[in-house]
Subunit: 261 residues, 4 copies
């Protein structure tokens, strides 16, 4: 069974800061946001977690394997190098959306995201090292069938983007409502979903729904692991199998080591 | 009348690169993409243009004021510092979507986005300095009414994100289809649109459509200018007026200097 | 005759900030400093200037071609993205050290580098566009003869570094005292000097002095230009000529185009 | 007794790359180097190690606590995001210079730093977790007495820099020759030394030597610890004691917790 540890990363009082004392240059804000995300991606990613940019002022991370001290260090390091600070809430649950619900609740209880006095909150639970298991995470990596041939090389870039975006908007809502899975657009034609235990039929159902509703054809590789990186890497390999074999859904197969005798 | 210069920024052969010789760590790809975007935002932004991350492997920039030499320098500098290269296509038109159509066509003619031999293409037209006018650009800056109170402080982060995202998906499609405007999510609850000449009724129409279809309430500040920064900054100030006065649509008003005598 | 425009970039009140409320993690400070330098290098460099990291809290830039508005924009953009602000002083003179003297004096007059109330000073003169000439800058690019063979592949890294460092310490002092030139270590075995009009004999003199005092053998390419990039690029090409022809001092020669008839 | 683990970080074949096919823009090289260093500082620093930029194409890191897998991950992540790759050599010894000697030898044995076929070497030993002790590292943090009052606020920036630089050049050589300690300039008026077991008299000797030879007055805080961060942080606190009490050499004192009863 999955046991997902999620962290909500929230820039403290960011909205008001962006217009104080008057609006700041948009490209400076874009630079700040994307570099902050990149730094989080390196910190969390080099500890085998995943971070998604979501709304940039609120980001969601899969942090199985990171403990409270790691979260504190991240908070301290960001405060040392940026003009803004971050609050962090963590939660653990078999259902990703429930884990995020806990993570979010911790910050909400501490005050509003736009409360100038609420800074660098750190709240919530992490998974004890002794409770961690090889199947704590199920990660699905979707992409769009032949996006380059059908969209990028044919339509203007915005019309290509609309196709991908509508596919994403449909998938994100469906997987959240039906399964409690959280789906994130990660660039190109790629979507990564943090999922509870779902089987092949569930993924076929989701793909069919997106094709029906948005006319976008997806395929998906699915991996499991003790960390987001392990599960996500397995998912990428499974997606490569889809590409090679022309299939729609592939789970990573256990690499069986055959003994000599 | 508007005269929008758009540049399509396309990472050359990026998809294949991300899985060669085998899939690369996802957080390294995320870091690479977001830092590349940040560098583009600084280069273009400090020349008063705007860049939007769109799909990250394909980005759209508003580049009125940047000439061919600027585009070449950008291309050279990225090639010197990244493991990937970029192709650039430019286009100019009263209609943003038509400008992007031209910009995209230049790259498509040169070959596929996944053609390993098609590298560092630079194609298309730029607006001659002598043709540039103070109303070349119309930029609209939307945000969601009380997003913090209604979503961020109440729902879990993913459910907040779904609301914002569905509002964005609806707006982007409507403005593109009805007006040829290009809309980009820029973080938080903010959407920036690059528009043709649109009037107050047009913006009210778009806002009403989004509320009807997605249940998301938007307001918008609109600015015009010779550059994206000037137009966008005026739009931000107009949006501040919306916030102060509780209005839905504001255009930046000329700052009239009253003489003493 | 040279006409060098130099800018002193000083982080405001940095020393006290690094230990308030208590000492900050050293690697966060190192990250902050080197990324700030990188951002300055991109801003100034993409406008054909040069920046040197010097002491990191005080940096020296060659800014021929950048006007006061460019300096203001840089200041604003850094303040938007970093937890620290910068003051900028500019100066212009045939002698680099005199230009820097003026640039520094502007900030010193405004208050101490560690005065908490002295923030974002912008002072000094820039070269009027109409006064700029193709020989405003003379840049010399030195490197160490066979540094890889003699040091890097033979000694431990610190002992290699000591050799390079002692060569640099000797050269920087000599060129400053004898000629008013400013020399900066730029990594590897490379030193870049911002020079007044110096001739081949002057450079031979400096190279001989360093060999005599520090036992380090240098060669140098020298370029002139309207901007640091043009002069420095010519210097790099001249240094390539030294490498190919085994010479010690080369000036960039005008590229003569020979007509067919 | 100290037991220092040092890693040599060497950019593979960097010199030739910077001039192939022709010289690259200097500010792009400076940006690349300083950002690469910043990324190493974050990776190593968030694992409680230290990295020094040294010559930028060769950097020295104190890596007690980082194992071979950490080094491999660092190598992979850099290769995914930069146009260059790095080789890493590690060594362990009571004497810092001997540790670096081992670290360097591993790379030298594998080939020249400018051998195009020698890429991503990883060689050398790391300290077993079971052998790590609370006094493995001794870190000294030096600064210049009243550098702002004596230099920064009085001299032009280059002349200030010359003073700091000559003080550093003298200290680095003396500590290396007399004690096998490795000293690195870290910006401002700060020098950090990685030392073997040295006592108060040794530090007084070094400070006196620098004052005599270079006329630069230093003070120093010294810390010990299981990691570079712990030792270096203790050194920073000790240096604060120097500042408050006007002393020249301070060792971090154990923080005695006094019980209530």
């Amino acid at each position: 069974m999955t046991n997902t540890q999620l962290s909500l990363i929230q820039i403290d009082n960011y909205g008001p800061w962006t217009v104080t004392p008057e609006p700041r240059r948009e490209m400076d804000l874009q630079t700040l946001q994307s570099r902050l995300f990149a730094d989080l991606a390196q910190f969390v990613g080099s500890r085998d977690g995943y971070v998604f940019f979501t709304r940039f002022d609120n980001m969601v991370a899969v942090t199985n394997g990171l403990d409270e001290a790691d979260h504190e260090l991240l908070q301290e390091s960001i405060a040392n190098r940026y003009p803004v600070t971050i609050s962090l809430g963590t939660g653990v649950d078999a259902s990703p959306v429930e884990a995020l619900e806990s993570a979010t609740a911790g910050l909400q209880t501490a005050g509003s995201a736009q409360d100038g006095d609420r800074r660098e909150v750190l709240s919530g639970d992490v998974l004890a090292e002794s409770d961690r298991m090889p199947e704590d995470l199920q990660i699905a990596h979707f992409d769009v069938n032949d996006a380059t041939g059908k969209y990028t090389d044919r339509l203007n870039e915005f019309d290509s983007f609309i196709q991908i975006e509508q596919g994403y908007a449909t998938l994100m809502r469906y997987l959240r409502e039906e399964y409690g899975a959280l789906s994130f657009f990660v660039g190109g034609d790629n979507i990564i979903s943090v999922c509870p235990d779902m089987d092949e039929a569930d993924y076929r159902d989701a793909i069919a729904h997106v094709e029906r509703e948005a006319g976008v054809e997806l395929k998906v590789g699915v991996g499991t692991g003790r960390t987001a990186h392990v599960a996500g890497f397995a998912a990428k390999h499974a997606l490569e199998v889809c590409r090679e074999e022309g299939t729609d859904v592939e789970f990573d197969r256990p690499h069986v080591e055959v003994a000599d005798d």
